[in-house]
Symmetry: C2
Subunit: 579 residues, 2 copies
């Protein structure tokens, strides 16, 4: 802020000059005192000057609606929305979101710091204020090949950037607990820069959790129970109540929010698909759910405003008070939280669900063409098994956790797997797509139900190699080749023809089109997955595959290096008898 | 923190190596969850590693006592204790104080930035962690001459210092409200450095308060009523509940602390004399009083710990949790808050009221010899009045606010004032002592009751020139000359002999001796003021004089320039008829 702006702000606050904008007739939610103040909100140069009675150059009548501070999503991976940062802004701002804390972990796994650069540049195009966390665990594990390896050294420059608030979720909690040198170096980078370190510690408790917390891990969005939550709060960690498209923890956790601990509680989505946003909303929906569960509305609002601002040290926001950013959300009431208008930085940016600013897009040149295969052909899918008793990756309900099963499969004379329509087991492969290593690893997937064709996608947490599965090597090869041509995305094939596809040219992770288009495409992909490929109705056909390569979630996963037993933390052979 | 320390901390937290220190058998106050946790506190290199069950190289049994985080005094002027920073540390640490936010406004008025340098250097000698605010209003007004003028330019270097948290109480609230350029420049210095701005706005309300708050003034310790408090909290300011040696606001204000707003409330003393500390304590006494007034003890403790740490962005303290500074205070209970032991930074620094570290002192060379008079003699006390109807500064109960009275006095043939034992009016003078301007201004003091001799002191808020009053010019001259020889302090004289004195060689504001010595001296000075000089028993003889030169407190004061009418904000003549 410059001196002249400061003078204008103070003069406006003092009622001695007309405000740039006055939002009249509000019920202002006072997050400091926990009460409602009836009055006007005066705005000067994008900041709130005062609340009370004010006159302005421009006057908008709130007609008695409630005015909330701009909402803050304390943890989200934009990439999981399959849309670009600009587009996510267009989708969530009309729901009252003013700020998101984004961890661009997925794109950095593909494009390295260049992926971060793209996200930060793209973020400049939206009214949504996107603050970033520097991904801390790229690759997520040493058991896979991602597009880059971000070690402590590579973090030194980005951690100092103004819009980088700290290190993103430190998923490698064993690395911290076990004093792994790389992890220590990364922590030190954040500490030396005076930046935050965000957490991720599902199921960790007791001494291990104390060890993790002692590194001053700021928060955790992976609490599954109220006990998890309480333990973390007492250790000084903020708890992020998560409600995303995939994980639904909010209703369970909100029962643990008390008058005593609520200031240490925040709201987040972790991931949020366009369909969820259009049907349910964003943080406005979190508020609605909190209130449905009996939480005091102002306490809920604080979790999405003041508490988040305090946690992330965003001193310029989180409240409607003099000198704060003029991020104001008008809602009809404090139960449904239907958003009427949204101002960010003093500008009206959404009205009745519509995003108002001109839509601009960052060039995606630097992050497209991210699918790089070497010597790829169906020969890479050959397995030449010595035994027909094999380990299979069995899909469990929910689709993220798997079971390590042993099954008998049909082999040809060369020991090659042959799909048996009577058995719900197919070949699955992970094809390295970043560094042209030529790596392809095969495994067997049980319970997916596919009867025809193949599915391939380049969204495969966290390294985002290509996952492909299908009823034979030809279909699988065709799917991978077509996906390569598309520059990544999701594809369904049958009889070596494309049945349906969604190109995701941004790092093979995000579409460059609208959320509505993504939603339509996903709907069509789902529909065709069941109808054309015969995938089991009890399985989510796409997201389930996306998680088949994530070697930190039990029980067994497939990376580009091979079949990985998460329980023993080691690679295992395909043949069950050789174990 | 270095990497090896971090590793040691994490290993200790994880229970995989012995802690340096374990404080066993505590009832730990969990300020995050608002509950009591029974367990041990493990310490590694001055930080808390974990709470729960731990083993340590050294073990101390807390015998079931309550463990509180180190207490924080959110606003204090060390100088008002009349002792050095090291000595204040010795006095308050045994009361559980771990951190104070000190505004060295008094010494900077005398010695400029050199005074700040001395205070910061001296602070290094005590276990008490002294954080500083850079005095924002030196001199306090343009109506007096202080030892230096600290403009925005002079603030640029000190504001960047690590232990300077921001600008100290911005007393010149009219300067902010009226967009005074100097004030704007000072605000900009803090804003550009990303530092805080502390407040001081007694009686300001409505639009003026909004104007003040819009500059993002962080807090205010000058609330007189619950209404003042509520208005400030809603405007985003923290409210500091003050209980000092002079001002007693806590019991009144604590009634305004609610479950909803308590996180925005802090505790402070503003000033705290050795006698008050030894008889009542420090922030431990604030806690005791809060609980006496019915406040939940954990809420009270939070005001002195977590809330203060959040307000001042001291993220390393304010709680007993892994990775926090090992500032731990053992108290017998949560009602009397009797302090048993204090660890700061993991070191045992006080036990049963005794300060344990070796006592070291910063050299005071740079800040002594601060009394510089030019051409001083009793001739300067001559007034040559044209009328015997004069303005008098009438002392009112409390001694800080005065009344502008008009009285008839006895004059000699030259128009010189003659003391009339029948009338409780004496001459008072302010003698400039910093820059050798030779300025001496005279006025008349009513209601002080002095019958013999004179009193002089070099502690005279905020410019700290010499204030002297007495029954005739000879006694007054003698008092000033003796005070000059002492290098400043407080002196009582009678028959041109010293009756009692307290040298204050540190800038003429602080003694270089112990708090106990200061207390004894003050007791003797008070006793002699009444017994030897006949000062009225209803008047505090020293503090009352200290405030006679502060031209921001109504109704009329005397500076080195002349008699100042605070209501009209202008100088007035001594003669009442000439007004």
């Amino acid at each position: 802020m410059e001196k002249e702006q400061l003078k204008k702000l103070i003069a406006t606050a003092g009622g001695r000059r007309k405000a740039d904008l006055v939002i009249k007739n509000c019920k202002i939610v006072d997050v400091f005192a926990g009460k409602i103040i009836e009055g006007d909100i005066a705005v000067s140069d994008g900041q709130i000057a005062g609340i009370g009675k004010y006159d302005g150059e421009k006057i908008v009548d709130a007609q008695g609606r409630y005015a909330l501070p701009g909402l803050i999503d304390s943890h989200i991976h934009i990439e999981s929305s399959y849309v670009s940062p600009e587009e996510l802004g267009r989708l969530v701002v009309p729901h009252g979101t003013g700020t998101i804390i984004a961890d661009p972990h997925e794109i950095v796994n593909v494009c390295g710091i260049q992926g971060l650069d793209y996200m930060m540049a793209a973020a400049e195009n939206t009214a949504l204020d996107i603050k970033f966390m520097l991904p801390s665990c790229v690759p997520a594990t040493p058991f896979e090949h991602a597009g880059d390896t971000i070690d402590a050294k590579k973090m030194e420059e980005p951690i100092t950037r103004e819009n980088i608030l700290g290190l993103g979720e430190f998923m490698n909690y064993p690395g911290i607990i076990n004093l792994d040198d790389d992890s220590m170096d990364k922590l030190m980078v954040a500490k030396r820069a005076g930046k935050l370190i965000d957490g991720h510690s599902p199921g960790v408790k007791g001494y291990d959790l104390a060890a993790y917390a002692s590194a001053r891990i700021q928060g955790d969005h992976e609490c599954a129970t109220v006990e998890d939550m309480e333990e973390r709060i007492s250790l000084g960690m903020y708890v992020l109540l998560r409600q995303g498209s995939a994980c639904h923890d909010l209703r369970k956790l909100v029962k643990g929010v008390t008058v005593e601990n609520s200031r240490r509680c925040l709201l987040c989505s972790d991931d949020r698909q366009p369909k969820t946003i259009s049907e349910e909303g964003h943080i406005d929906n979190h508020l609605r759910m909190c209130v449905e569960e009996g939480l005091d509305p102002i306490t809920a609002i604080r979790m999405a405003t003041l508490n988040a601002a305090e946690c992330f040290r965003l001193y310029d926001r989180g409240a409607i008070a003099p000198g704060y950013r003029a991020d104001v959300v008008l809602v009809d009431d404090l139960t449904a939280f239907r958003v009427n208008k949204v101002w960010l930085n003093g500008k009206l940016v959404a009205e009745d669900g519509k995003y108002l600013p001109e839509f601009r897009r960052q060039s995606i040149d630097a992050v497209q063409s991210s699918v790089h295969l070497k010597d790829f052909s169906k020969e890479k899918f050959r397995v030449a098994l010595k035994s027909n008793r094999v380990h299979t990756v069995e899909i469990l309900p929910g689709g993220v956790v798997t079971k390590k099963s042993v099954d008998t499969v049909k082999l040809d004379q060369n020991g090659e797997f042959v799909f048996d329509p009577e058995k719900d087991i197919v070949k699955m492969a992970v094809v390295e797509r970043h560094k042209m290593t030529g790596n392809v690893a095969c495994g067997f997937l049980k319970g997916y139900g596919i009867k025809r064709g193949a599915v391939a996608l380049s969204v495969a947490h966290d390294s985002h190699n290509i996952i492909v599965t299908g009823v034979n090597d030809d279909e699988m090869e065709f799917a991978v080749r077509e996906l390569e041509k598309m520059g990544g995305g999701i594809i369904l094939v049958n009889d070596c023809k494309v049945v349906e596809s969604m190109p995701m040219p941004i790092a093979g992770l995000m579409s460059d089109r609208s959320g509505e288009w993504v939603d339509e495409k996903l709907t069509a992909l789902h529909e065709k997955a069941y109808s054309a490929l015969g995938i089991s109705g009890s399985v989510e056909p796409l997201m389930t595959l996306c998680f088949m390569s994530l070697p930190v979630i039990p029980e067994v996963k497939l990376t580009d290096i091979g079949l990985f037993d998460v329980t023993s933390f080691s690679f295992i052979p395909l043949e069950a008898d050789e174990e």
